[in-house]
Structures are given as C-alpha cells and as structure tokens.
C-alpha cells in the first residue's frame, strides 16, 4: 500500500513528472513530507496541496468496516474461526482453539513439549473438516532441526488410528506438510517474505515457526551495543509480515 505509485493514486501526469524530479514517486514519499515542503515541491497553493494530500491519503488508507460487519462475517463460518487443538481443557480456555487470523505464541522451558505441540497441530490441519481439521497443507519453518518425520507418522497413527489406516493417507499427510530448514535470521526473514505465494499455490492453512528465539539468540548477543536495535528490527519486521499473512489469509500462525 505504501509503495503505491503516485500515478495510480489519481494525480495528474505533469504533477507526477514534477514530483519524480524531486525523487518523490510513491505515496510513502509524498505523505512523509510536511505541508510547506509539499507546497515548495508541487508549486501549488496551500489549499490545493491539502486537497492533493487528501487524494493521496484516500489511495492509501484502509477500508472502513463496522464491528458488526466483522462479527457477521465471522458468524457465517464459525468453524473457521478457530483451529481446535483437540485438548478439551485448552480449547475451552482459548475460547475454541488456536484463533485463525492472528499470531499465537507458545513458550516454555526446553523439553516441555513445544515442538510436539507444533507437530500435532500440523497433523490436525491436514485432517478433513468433519474431524475438526482444516483439510489443507501446513508450512513448518524449522530452525532447530527438531522436526522428525517419523514422529509425525507415529503421532498420526496413534492419535487417529481409524483415519490413518492406509499408507495412502499417511503419504498424503506427509506430502501436505512443507518443511523448510532455515538456520540464520536472514534466511528466516527471507523465507517468511516468500511465503505469500506458497500459501496460495499450495493451499496452506497453518504456518508454524519453530522457533523464533533460538535463531535470534544465536545471532544477536544483547550485550553488544548495536545488536539490540538490529534484533528488535528483525523481530518486528518478521512479526508484521506474519501478522499480515495471518490476517490476509485468515490462518493461524
């Protein structure tokens, strides 16, 4: 949205030409300047510049929706609002399960079962909707190399023996979970950014990042001066991309 070119925002050709001479080509550049600077750069009067500002803002601004419309949309497909974890107590506390469309964070000391939980959720995603799943693929970004395909099959076979009775079903399960091993912060970020197309092409309905902390702690030592800022930058950027993916596709992350 921010990188939208001014030409597409509805400004006239000559104005765009003039602005590009000052290196202002996107809405972002336009909105970052103060009013007086805009007057100088566009060569228009004060009131005209205010009108232009509103025009450009309208091109960038998000759409309005009332809370009621949001509720109606959610109630139309109630099952898709949450991904049930099949743990009755946990589902009750979470109001239905892991919410679709937002980020959920699982933390805990080593060995308490976080990776196992993630593997479980990936199995659940591939189950058909009638059994409480999402009937879709899952993306698993693994930074600790803790994912084991054998364990995946073990969980599937023991938890849902009636469903996973044939090899075919197990094959389908394993082929719908896409595993990416990333070992550095940079590659994790790059992978997250490239997820958008994968989600659409492979019909993914769950993204798991296991784990964010391990790769960050490996690379950034907090005691060194500049690293804190870089680390927060990396985390915030990753978080905003993940939030955007979660909301855009209404999937749990």
């Amino acid at each position: 949205m921010a990188a939208k070119k001014l030409r597409r925002a509805g400004l006239s050709e000559e104005l765009c030409e003039r602005l590009s001479r000052h290196q202002i080509t996107t809405c972002q550049d336009f909105l970052c300047l103060s009013l007086l600077e805009l007057v100088k750069v566009t060569g228009q009067s004060y009131y005209n510049v205010q009108k232009l500002l509103r025009k450009v803002s309208r091109a960038c601004a998000p759409k309005m929706q009332t809370a009621y419309e949001m509720k109606l949309r959610k109630s139309v497909s109630p099952s898709s609002a949450f991904l049930s974890t099949t743990l009755h107590g946990l589902d009750k506390v979470l109001h239905g399960g892991v919410p679709c469309g937002s980020l959920t964070e699982i933390t805990g000391p080593p060995g308490c079962g976080k990776t196992q939980f993630c593997i479980m959720m990936s199995v659940l995603t591939t189950l058909p909707v009638s059994m409480g799943g999402l009937d879709a693929a899952a993306i698993y970004v693994d930074t600790e190399s803790a994912f084991s395909a054998e364990r995946l099959i073990e969980i599937a076979g023991n938890r849902f023996p009636t469903y996973f009775d044939s090899d075919e079903k197990l094959l389908y399960l394993t082929s719908s979970i896409h595993l990416y091993r990333e070992l550095t912060c940079g590659s994790v970020l790059k992978r997250i950014m490239s997820l958008e197309e994968e989600i659409i092409s492979k019909k993914v309905k769950l993204i798991i990042i296991d784990s964010v902390a391990s790769v960050v702690r490996k690379e950034f030592d907090v005691k060194l001066q500049g690293n804190l800022a870089e680390r927060s930058n990396f985390l915030a950027r990753g978080a905003s991309v993940l939030k955007y993916l979660a909301e855009e596709f209404s999937i749990p992350v």
């Binding site: 949205m1 009067s45 004060y46 009131y47 509103r54 803002s57 959610k74 950027r237 905003s240």
Partner: protein, 366 residues
Amino acid sequence: MQRAVGSLPLAPALRARLVAAGFQTAQELLETGPCGLSREIGISKEEALEALQVVRQECHGDAARTAGGSGATRKCTALELLEEEQAQGFIITFCSALDNILGGGVQLSKITEICGAPGVGKTQLCMQLAVDVQIPECFGGIAGEAVFIDTEGSFMVDRVVDIATACVQHCQLIAEAHQEEDHLKALETFSLKSILSHIYYFRCCDYIELLAQVYLLPEFLSEHSKVRLVVIDGIAFPFRHDFEDLSLRTRLLNGLAQQLIIIANDHKSAVVLTNQMTTRFGQSQSTLVPALGESWGHAATVRLIFHWDNSQRFATLYKSPSQKESTIPYRITSHGFRDVQPPAVIENAEDTELNPRKRPRREEEK
C-alpha cells in the same frame, strides 16, 4: 489588509512573479483586479481570478481575527471554557477507581495515552471505552460513536461482543430498578447490534496507512458527527521498526500529534492512544519507560501507565493537568474492565435526580 504578498498561501512560482512585479501588500493585489493582474504578470485570467479569491479569503480571515469575531479564531474567555467543561460528559471505564483518579472518566477534547507492557490490558480498556462511549445519556453516558484504528491486529470482535453484552445487561438492571420512561426507550436502541454497528474499524498495516487515515479523519468525522471517541491502538508499533531515520520519525510523530489535537478539539471527541514500553538503560539498572521517546511524551495530555505488581494489575496516572498522580488496582473479568473489589455505593434516590449524569455504580456478580 497590509499583509505582505510573500506570506500569502499561493503557489511559490506565482508569488515570486508577484514580488518581482513590485507588488508588496495584499491590498495592492486586490485593487488591481484580475485583468490587470493577468496583464502585468503574464498569467491567464482564470489563474489571476483564483489567486485573488485566495487573497480575499485570507484577508477576510485576517479582518475577522483582528475584530475579535468568533468562528475564525478560537478565542473565548475562561468562564465560557469552564461552563463548557462542566457540561461536558466523560467516557466512563466501568472501573470506578480509575474513573475517580481520572476525574470522572476519559475526558473529551483531550488526548489520553495508555502505556503498558504487553498483556496488561491496554486493548481491553480501548474496547471497553469503545462500548462505553455509546451508553445513552439517561444512563450517564454520552451516546456517541467510536472510531477504532488498529495497527497491531489485536481487536477481537468476540471480546467486544462479551463486553457489550455485559454493558447492556448492566443498563437493563438499572432500568428495571428505576422504571423510568426514557430509560426504557433508550434501551430499545441500545442493543448489541447497534453497539457493534457504531464502532468504525480501520486496520492499518504500516505507518503510511496510519498517516493517510489520520489525514482523512476530519472528513470522516464531519460525515459521522456523532463520533465521540477515536482510539488508535498501537501507535508505537508501526514506528518502531524499519526506521533508520529517527529525525523523520520524530517529525512524522509530531505532525500526527498536531493532527490529533486538532481533531480532538474540533469534533469534541476524546482521542485515546496506546503505547508500548521500552527499556531505558541507566547507569546501573534499566527501567521501563513509554516508547517513542521524550518528544512524544508531550503529545498526550493525560498519560496512564499500566503495570504488573505480583500478579495484580495497577494503573498509574502519570501525567494530568488537573488530577494528582495516583495508582489504583484493577482487574479484567469476562465482562471487561472492572474494579478489584466492589466500591461502597450508597444508592440515594435523591442523588440520581439531582445529577442524572452520574448513575449509581453497582458491581454485579461474575
């Protein structure tokens, strides 16, 4: 009328030509007329007419200002302000201790900032306020609508449904106890559906969308004149990452603050912002301070800091022009934002008659 040409809000090229042609004051411009102007400077007649209209508008604005007229300027006596403030309502938070330290609730025409660590209840309070602003006047509210600008994506409709249901039930209890005509009539319009339909939600994913939305807000507010609350949930989030140029950030934030002050004053609505906390490293220890730096601290009129203390949530009034600094505990229940223990309320029938705005607070069982 003696205004210098260089200070008029015209296009810079035009201004340069006017000054080069020898015009010095606005008076001279108006005397010349559009045809003469176009001949002398070499611009078309339409442009000259436009320029003259701008000049005339400016000068009339000036004259009104010097004559002390109302409308063009915001001059008024302190007595008028006092009367206005006393008649103004507050947006209650359903936590009477918090309302007390705020002096009645969240004030209109002021910017209130809520800072706190993640998970302490900032978004909860915002959702509570978005519902509370819609309480009808006979129950002590201000019957307004709310604009919710979300930058973090933490707005959950289901939670608002819970809060709104509890609020409607609360009002129903009061209406049953008092059995007054206007209470029952107000209850007909104050339902879950109407509450949700009057919360206008915008989801901004980055700071450009936020800036664009704030530029468009005055227009939106004039179309929806009943809006009395603007919530920006997470003003720190889009500005905290990806910003190498800190001076640009400060400039944008200051511009944003000014816009919000204008919006709060012009439309008599309360502006509520939520901010994150950041760690400041001192000599020997580190403290949690509100994010976005010192210069942002001047933007808000009232500042509330939420924090934890041994699994009890506290709210501190950190900055306020009219109330003193104090800390109160609060809790968040399934109904929303509430007090820690039921306040001692004396239900006096007289009280409600004398002051219909203050309705008796009752703590219901969870």
